[in-house]
């Protein structure tokens, strides 16, 4: 018969009773081999389990220590750290609003989902102006009024206007001349004092002068002279001077010949606001 502590009745007869005796006997049992009794085998296996658990803990500890050492060369020892955080560098914006013929076009165009422009703040698709249709020599000058406004947070130091890409084509009629209308049309670009476009402020092309423009140049000559700079820019949005008013006049001179009949001149006007 086996009793708790792994001792048989017989063993109790040879070993003094008490804790010391049980420990000694258990140790002897663990050292013996070839024991067929399952109960004895269980008593023998228990220390191995303990040893196995201990070994696992030791190995885990060593692995963790090794990983910790490898993961950071800076974990070691003493260190001192200071941080200068939240430094900021903020940029402003220059954004041009171009209103002509009751339509407004913004330089930044369509925005993406993050309210970001992807056109480099250059919008080449603003609305077109039909200055005249079926005009004849000597007709009054056709005009288009442009309202340019800085809707950005930075002041623009200068403004430029440029003509480009003028090409003469035939209109839809059956007969026409072959004259270069771009080289014939007279153009003037002038700044007006306010939104009524009633009073001239200064002329930008063909000459730079206060008041109304003088002798006119052709569209072709305007292209050659482009870009034409105005004396001032635009204040930042919301400030006085953030809006300026420009008028473009185009006229077919009275002396124009039949070679300009049935012709169409198509050209581009570009407004640019620079920092």
């Amino acid at each position: 018969m086996r009793v708790p502590g792994g001792l048989t009745q017989g063993e109790r007869g040879h070993v003094s009773a008490g804790l010391l005796g049980r420990i000694q006997s258990a140790h002897l049992a663990s050292l013996s081999t070839g024991i067929a009794d399952p109960a004895v085998a269980s008593a023998k296996a228990r220390p191995r389990v303990l040893r196995s658990t201990f070994n696992k803990l030791m190995v885990s500890t060593m692995v963790l220590a090794a990983v910790g050492t490898l993961a950071s060369g800076t974990l070691a020892s003493f260190n001192a750290t200071t941080t200068n955080a939240n430094n900021t560098f903020q940029t402003g914006t220059l954004a041009l609003s171009d209103n002509v013929a009751a339509q407004t076009c913004l330089s930044y165009g369509a925005l993406d989902a993050q309210d970001q422009f992807t056109n480099n703040n250059s919008n080449g698709s603003c609305n077109t102006v039909a200055f005249a249709a079926a005009a004849k020599p000597g007709d009054p000058a056709a005009t288009a009024n442009f309202t340019l406004k800085n809707v950005g947070s930075l002041a623009g130091a200068s403004m430029k206007v440029a003509g480009s890409g003028c090409a003469t084509t035939n209109n839809a009629e059956a007969f026409h001349g072959a004259g270069d209308l771009c080289g014939q049309l007279a153009i003037a670009v002038q700044e007006m004092t306010d939104a009524t476009f009633a009073t001239n402020k200064q002329c930008l092309y063909p000459n730079t002068s206060l008041g109304a423009c003088g002798a006119t140049g052709t569209v072709t000559a305007f292209q050659t002279a482009s870009p034409v700079s105005s004396a001032t820019g635009l204040a930042k949005a919301g400030a006085a001077g953030d809006t300026r008013y420009f008028q473009v006049q185009i006229q077919l001179p009275a002396a124009s010949g039949n070679q300009f009949q049935g012709r169409v001149a198509t050209f581009t006007i570009t407004w640019e606001l620079d920092q």
Binding site: N87, T88, F89, Q116
Partner: protein
């Protein structure tokens, strides 16, 4: 009385006799004592102040009965704040003063972060502003008359060490810093180039060694930041943006 009780009584009697007579057993003896042994730790402390201002920030922060409770890691002042600006030749400079105020020599490490966000309420460019901000960190040499409060630039001539610039090997080079700026940056989505804040943040994402400061020694660094104007509206893609960046200096 059984056998067990007899044994116990015998042991008790023997134990009592031993206790009574024990004080007289000692006769010859020899004794040595090594008192007052100590084990002392050193210290590595870092002080950090901008433009050598009167207010100095220490890594140990506020002390409680002479002990720090912040694990020797302290948030110090912001160095640079630039609001609503535009590309230009203007360079924003600041002098940072770091000193090893501890008792042990240390290796100085730097970790840099930079994040870009849209800050215009309506429209912003679509490039990371950190890509277009040029940065250079130059160690300062001796200043005529020494460094005083309010210095935003320092003497960088004849310096043969560079913390960071656009010139290889970029970080912690044993040569003078290159020019402030970066090579021409292409249109989106071209990657940021050396000399930019993005590049610095990449190269010092972790604690990258940039210098050595022995106990009691100090260094001054001039930090230059610029949004270059390369013309032709190339920088339009960073309109309406804010870059927020931080420097973490570690002495170990």
């Amino acid at each position: 009385m059984d056998r067990t009780k007899k044994i116990l009584i015998t042991m008790l009697v023997l134990g009592a006799l031993a206790a009574v007579g024990g004080g007289t057993y000692a006769s010859f003896n020899a004794v040595t004592t090594n008192p007052g042994n100590t084990f002392q730790t050193g210290s590595i402390f870092l002080s950090n102040d901008k433009d050598t201002t009167a207010t100095t920030c220490f890594s140990y922060g506020a002390l409680t009965a002479g002990q720090f409770t912040n694990n020797n890691t302290q948030a110090c002042s912001t160095l640079v704040t630039v609001a609503t600006t535009k590309p230009s030749a203007t360079v924003t400079s600041v002098v940072l003063h770091l000193k090893n105020v501890g008792a042990s020599n240390g290796t100085l490490g730097l970790a840099t972060t930079c994040a870009s966000a849209n800050s215009d309420p309506t429209a912003s460019g679509n490039r990371n502003l950190c890509d277009r901000l040029a940065i250079r960190i130059t160690p300062c040499g001796a200043m005529p008359g020494g460094y005083t409060s309010g210095n935003t630039t320092c003497n960088t001539t004849s310096v043969t060490h560079c913390v960071y610039s656009q010139t290889a090997a970029y970080v912690n080079t044993a040569a003078a810093c290159g020019a402030l700026g970066y090579p021409v940056l292409g249109a989106m989505p071209a990657a940021a180039t050396a000399g930019s804040l993005t590049d610095l943040a990449t190269r010092t994402a972790a604690n990258t060694t940039v210098d050595t400061i022995n106990a009691g020694n100090e260094v001054y660094y001039q930090i230059d930041i610029q949004l270059p104007d390369t013309g032709a509206g190339l920088e339009n893609d960073v309109q309406g943006k804010t870059a927020t960046f931080g420097f973490t200096w570690s002495l170990s």
